[in-house]
Symmetry: C2
Subunit: 488 residues, 2 copies
Amino acid sequence: MLRPWQVSLSERLDAASATPVYLQIIQALIRDIERGRLKSGEFLPSSRDLATALGVNRKTVVLAYEDLIAQGWLDSAGTRGTIVSSSLPEPVRNARTPKAAHPAESEAQYWFAPPPARPLALPSGPGLKLDEGAPDGRLFPADPLARAYRASALKASSDNRLQYRDPRGSPALRDSVAAMLRSQRGLNVRTENVCITRGSQHSIFLASQVLLNPGDTAVVEELTYEPAVAAFRARGAKIAPVGLDADGIDVDAVEAVCRRHAVKAVFVTPHHQFPTTVALRPERRLRLLELARQFGFAIIEDDYDHEFHFGGQPLLPMAAYAPEHVIYAGSLSKLALPALRIGYVAAPVAVIEALAHIVSLVDGMGNTLTEDAAAELMENGELRRHARKVRNVYAARRSQFAEALAETLGEVVDYSIPDGGLAFWLRFHRVADLDKIEAQAPGLGLRFATSRSFMARDDAPRGLRVGFASLNPGEARAAIRALKSALD
Amino acid sequence: MLRPWQVSLSERLDAASATPVYLQIIQALIRDIERGRLKSGEFLPSSRDLATALGVNRKTVVLAYEDLIAQGWLDSAGTRGTIVSSSLPEPVRNARTPKAAHPAESEAQYWFAPPPARPLALPSGPGLKLDEGAPDGRLFPADPLARAYRASALKASSDNRLQYRDPRGSPALRDSVAAMLRSQRGLNVRTENVCITRGSQHSIFLASQVLLNPGDTAVVEELTYEPAVAAFRARGAKIAPVGLDADGIDVDAVEAVCRRHAVKAVFVTPHHQFPTTVALRPERRLRLLELARQFGFAIIEDDYDHEFHFGGQPLLPMAAYAPEHVIYAGSLSKLALPALRIGYVAAPVAVIEALAHIVSLVDGMGNTLTEDAAAELMENGELRRHARKVRNVYAARRSQFAEALAETLGEVVDYSIPDGGLAFWLRFHRVADLDKIEAQAPGLGLRFATSRSFMARDDAPRGLRVGFASLNPGEARAAIRALKSALD
């Protein structure tokens, strides 16, 4: 007759499982010991009896018993058989049978407090996706990237020194980024001023750890990049949202916050404001720098799509003329591929060293293979060639998108053609239209970031940010028509 | 005559710089405006005069003026010339000339508090390096890796949907990891139980964010993996180090801590204790699980080099028989290459979702190219083939290393041949010998983690962890002789 634990064991064995049966037996026996169903000193059936009872090969049971003896779970009692190791403690509780199908789910709750609710960006399902300004990955040349990765892989497997490296990133990529920032963006930086990161969000997260202590205040615009706000909040910072107009952040409001709170960081996207696309005007920049000096905060300048500026030359980053006040964040996500996860921070050396300490806690270092591949693409000119090519493509798509907007949605939305960046900001004449689009879109298979996702406070003006670069003209027209159809 | 700011401008221009001269002029003029050396409404010299004064082509100055006018820094005053934009605010402070060579360095201090001192793992210089148990990257086949990356790159550039994805990682890799954990480690997990990370440190950091609130207590062994301790501390947790012997963590000491403090996490490396290499014995495992249930903490099980177990089969992870108490962390750093930065966590679904929220704050998502390439290497069997190959190589190196140790250092150190993992733990008969080695090593060009780097409390027994896998027999003998020579 089978004892209760044997019944349970028999029920739990699954010949069709990917887990080999002998591992299943080991797992089940340890679990039975752990749950008190098998007690210290208790005799196990002979391997022959258990094999017969379970309908498995005897060798399988022998293998499991041998492993369990070697690991100290079971003891061999010579010719008398096999017992549960007598050194094991008596369980102090009653055996409990978990109720959930997957036992872990029902019992992890007691030590696990779910994080604050925040919509999780899960992968795109089917349907039409309007992004917030992503590049068109289909335009990126896979061959040079693959070649660069091949070179990286060969290098990595030829030299053991490349194993665990500098938390500030691959020297080759730091050099290339510093050179690019000097030659193309007027930043007076050396390699020591650069830390490679895993993209803009990583840069912002690292900066928040260095700048903010719990209880400090971070200023953001009332319409802003929500993941940055979430990173500041996760650090325990208070968030002070301030107004925003066509010239950028309301600097008087920033000053008012500074007079009442310990402001340690102001997060801005001066080149192409996220989400509204406007540029921060010179007079606002000067006031912001003045306030930084006066109240002792750092400006986090997120220049997430610097390369794509269509109305004249790109604007000089604030970090180019006021490096002492700015933590500058850029990335290759828009220029190359988001999937590369390459971003960078430029800042004073002491800040870079502090960021490196945070990196060493957070993820140790970056992916050297990818960093060296990216450096190769910067050095061999592939990224520059790609930038030239897609700048022209995107400029054309911007115009075509504007035309399609005017034709299809011209009577319900206001928008400006953005000087730079890869998205339009749509303001609706009637909020009811926006509400209707947001309510109807999911049913039409149309997905986009909702107007609320940009709002750092409830009374901020609502709008939609709609990327134009990742869609070819046909896709763009279809997307805009889909938006329109949500109104019908 | 040149006005003061022109002198300064002239001095600052650097024809040899990587920054184009017109960008240098823009940068310098904005900086002069920002510093109050150029005032709102002030006339600039004609482009001809400035070009002559600076010794540059007039077109360069024209280009700079045009850009500055377009950006709103300067205004055209018609035929009378060019002025600093009258909309700019008057600076409220005196112009200051930064004193440091690099201006940012002297001024960032006021908003920047350096992080707590912790030795930063900077890249290896020249000389001989003894690691803490790294694999030999030279054994890793670059060709299959390069091919897998090529396939990833082609996929990424063929499908725009692959741009921004799931913070839990590439579906292909999550599937492959779940299948591997089921078939090789007896974990009863589905894809939903897996979150891909950027290596073990990233897993530990993410887990610490989910498990710990500031003021909570994390238990670690007195000899442990210091970066984990640093991650817990960064979260504001109190650290409670407890004793450790040849059977693993002192569970009575864990219970004593639990009776006095709010313990939310216990960090262990049960398979191959870091740094001492011992396995956590069954009776200790059971007591630890009992305490987890009784006091409501989670066990962080870091199984950082599971694949390399030489004395019999690998031990079943605690997560295999008690998933409700365990956040399980593994990685491809030891099996493949640390530079890949691929780790994973297996845990109850609710925990995985919480980790995904933290990922979305910390770095958004992983490198999809690398994740898909790793999935390909798991699916096509390359990683399994590689594991078989290096397991044999490392088993031989373990024996050779032990022989060389016995020959060369047998009279000064105690050690056991480790059942698993890629390192030896050396205990010195006389602490004076260890002190001498640690004092002399740098001068001999010998680098290794010092005995203090493993100690979570000052009275922990000191020792050295010395990796044997990354060194071929000749290198290993040289390294051991170098250790010995530090004693002479």
